[in-house]
Symmetry: C2
Subunit: 199 residues, 2 copies
DNA sequence: TATCTTAATGAACGTTTGTTCTTAAGATAA
DNA sequence: TTATCTTAAGAACAAACGTTCATTAAGATA
């Protein structure tokens, strides 16, 4: 009998239960049953429930937005800034709409205040990378004289805030709004921002 | 011996534990100890843990934003729209910065995806009242010809989104940013919005 | 005074929790 | 082949869980 990749499977099922019942509400036995093994077998792979939680966090921390959404063909659109921003936002929405990302934002929202989550989870930290990318983009636009001279950090927040609200409402829970509608809202936001900052 | 208001106290302590450990992570025994009574005494006031949770929700649902932040003296500032919006945002921030409101948003974020919370808790529903107030305000401004003709629903969202991000980051968790700094950020946002929509 | 209601106690219940232990079978390496 | 390593099962553990119970004592009501 081959060894199936139980270790990975435990993480997947644990994430499912953590995001449905919270860390405390999910039990080792339920997770084990979902994996198809006994609860004692779990401990051959992780030495505690907390270690499972931390392993999930480590997996997400190792991922980066940049690689997923700042593709080369996107960067070539920089000469059409409004279209660039729209496509950038669209890629971000797509990324956030991923099944894995949706689960992670749920875990973040649920556990960021608890003892186990407060060490590693915070919305600010989660948005840090996106913020710095946006800041870079707007800084470049200012330098090239295509938008007004405003604080790029502030512009990054204005850009992000609306999308973050979209995400919180339509891309994390049961509120299953269709993707096209989200694109529509996102585009309208970009148009608003663009008309406010363009020279 | 007078009867102390144990019923109310149970709700307060339960909310504390729910927002620190999640609904599942908080136990009747811990809550009872915090109140100063035995766990069995809890059941003289509420017939189950779930009933305590629902009682907390009911208390928050019965409250309304309008009464707290749409005061008469604020409405008299409507002839100075930018100042009005700034003061409106400030009042909202103050309201959100209330100890009770902070606890509730935490409960909302934590339990909105769990079995017990999904029936009654949603970010969209929580923002509904604020949205409709904002919509009313912007509709009025459009009618009076002092701002551009844009979709008032959209303007309400743009107005709300940035403040919601501020709230999520600085007014719900351990990220204890001082109030003056939040006002500052809020004002800059209003100035940005105002310059974008004024005629 | 007698009765009723309220709010508390402490023990007990059956269940579930996270975790540990021993044991065994298949995979791997010598 | 033998020896070792990995992964699983199943029983067991003490602790904690939500809840129920009979009992008690103190105000409220009559």
């Amino acid at each position: 009998m081959k060894y199936p990749n139980t270790k990975k499977l435990i993480l997947e099922k644990a994430l499912d239960y953590f995001t449905q019942k919270g860390y405390s509400g999910a039990s080792i036995r339920q997770i084990a049953r979902a994996v198809g093994i006994r609860e004692s077998a779990i401990y051959n792979h992780y030495k505690s429930k907390e270690e499972i939680f931390n392993a999930i966090l480590a997996e997400f921390k190792s991922r980066t937005i940049s690689k997923n959404i700042l593709s080369d063909d996107l960067l070539e659109e920089l000469d059409n800034p409004e279209k660039f921003l729209k496509d950038f936002a669209k890629k971000l929405v797509d990324h956030w709409n991923t099944e894995d990302e949706k689960k992670f934002i749920r875990l973040l929202l649920m556990e960021q205040f608890t003892k186990i989550g407060s060490k590693e989870l915070s919305t600010t930290e989660y948005l840090t990378e996106l913020r710095s990318i946006c800041k870079l983009i707007f800084s470049e636009m200012i330098k090239n004289g295509i938008i007004k001279k405003l604080d790029p950090n502030f512009l990054a927040d204005e850009f992000t805030a609306y999308l973050f609200l979209l995400r919180t409402e339509y891309m994390s829970g049961s509120n299953n709004t269709a993707a096209p509608r989200i694109y529509e809202l996102s585009n309208r936001h970009i148009e608003f921002i663009w008309n406010s900052i363009k020279i």
